[in-house]
Symmetry: C2
Subunit: 276 residues, 2 copies
């Protein structure tokens, strides 16, 4: 919030406070901040918040928590209803099943979906919602395709994201590297993370686009221990049910059950993030 | 908007409509859509919008345009006041000038700034605001560091972003490649763009993190002509005033005027996006 003050009517003030909360999730803001900024009594702000809270709850926009005491204030936690999340994922199932997505080698073209802001925002909401009761300090992903997804989740959780790289860049400074098994080809490769990009003792959510053998995820998990940090969970846009993998617990939006290259056919169902 | 309906009080309805507009910028939504969804008369929705419009204008959140006629509705264009944009950029100047950012070779470490959602959101608002009167179909950048920035700008403009790569990935399908001069070393390199990632006749805004010699930007501009598309403009987070470059017109948030590796000192001033 900048230092300007403005006098608004109640209805206008509610619109402006709503905008602030929507753009500053998971952040404690004192009622005094609003009271000073909008030149209103704290009790009026309190009433505004009560109405916004009810509207946000009814429309499944999110939850507003009031923290009492000297350091109190309000915290907005975005949510998404199960119905809306399922409707979004169902539509993505259909998009993923489009026959022209299959590339030689059985790969699925995802870049169009993962570079459309409205889609990314919704995926971010669904993944963040699944981890909203966890304390998360950072979202981790691997370059390049995971970046927009991690960004989308981090936007909702309002925490930084860190990008693991498969190559060394001079613009990253000192790095820590680990080896990992590149699943599809049984090669051992290296991944790198800038030393200053993750604080020790961080609680980290790993996000990636497509889970196959899980080698990349395992690599990131071993990087976490190099940074004395803890894994909160793993979330992927889609996983491939035909791949064998062990020991990775994850949540997926979509599950690809079959890829038929000859017939240009992909079978997709809702992922395990929707399982009870 | 999903298919659920809900009956809300006026004040609650305004909060919910505000949230919708904030999350769906540059998109025409008919008043009937809101009227049906919230079981209210179109005239009531119209009054709600008038109040929201005034509040958005007063708080410099954005502009709501009303389009009349059968296919009419409202379009929300996010804005940012010059004062707020300058205050944000001034703070980023200070962050950039921190002595521990200088890496061997005179590179500046930026990854922490460009992976923090609240900072990215503000940079996106400032850049999008500078191009809000242009028709833009897509935002283009080069992997990896430009991606979060392009994503942030695309979020505000509500258009897809396309990612040019310096390496070939099998998961991208057919690609088009061009050569470009890698400025710092006078080497000729290749960059690639997936054929299906950009429609012909697109109007494209190029976004990148740090402008040095401009070779990467020139490469992306030549890719645009391969895709029969037009350049709308170039925007960068920071440019280096010490670099010689010709023929590139761009807007920058910050300008680095001097990097003193020995003294670990970076001089930064506001970029040309703030020039009259």
């Amino acid at each position: 919030m900048n230092g300007d003050f403005m006098k608004l009517r109640r209805s206008e003030r509610m619109v402006v406070i709503s905008n602030y909360l929507i753009n500053n999730p998971y952040q404690l803001t004192s009622l005094n901040t609003f009271a000073q900024k909008y030149e209103a009594a704290k009790s009026s702000i309190s009433e505004d918040i009560a109405i916004i809270k009810k509207a946000f709850a009814q429309a499944d926009i999110g939850h507003i928590k009031t923290v009492t005491g000297a350091n109190g204030g309000v915290i907005f936690t975005p949510t998404i209803s199960n119905d809306e999340a399922r409707a979004i994922a169902q539509e993505l199932c259909q998009r993923l099943a489009e026959s022209n997505r299959i590339l030689p080698g059985g790969y699925i073209y995802l870049s169009d979906l993962l570079s459309t802001p409205s889609i990314l925002k919704n995926i971010g909401r669904i993944i963040a919602n699944a981890f909203k009761d966890e304390k998360i300090d950072a979202v981790m992903t691997v370059a390049t395709k995971g970046v927009p997804l991690a960004n989308a989740v981090a936007n909702i959780l309002n925490v930084p994201f860190v990008i693991v790289r498969r190559d060394l860049k001079i613009t990253e400074g000192s790095t820590v590297s680990v080896n990992y098994a590149s699943g599809s080809s049984d090669r051992i490769e290296k991944m790198f993370l800038s030393k200053r990009s993750l604080n020790p003792n961080s609680r980290v959510l790993i996000v990636d686009d497509f889970l196959k053998g899980g080698g990349t995820i395992s690599g990131m998990v071993s990087l976490l221990s190099e940074f004395d940090s803890q894994l909160v969970g793993v979330a992927v846009f889609a996983d491939n049910a035909q791949e064998k993998r062990e020991g990775i617990s994850y949540k997926s939006l979509l599950t690809v059950t079959n890829i038929d290259v000859k017939e240009s056919k992909v079978d997709v169902k809702l992922g395990n993030i929707f399982s009870k």
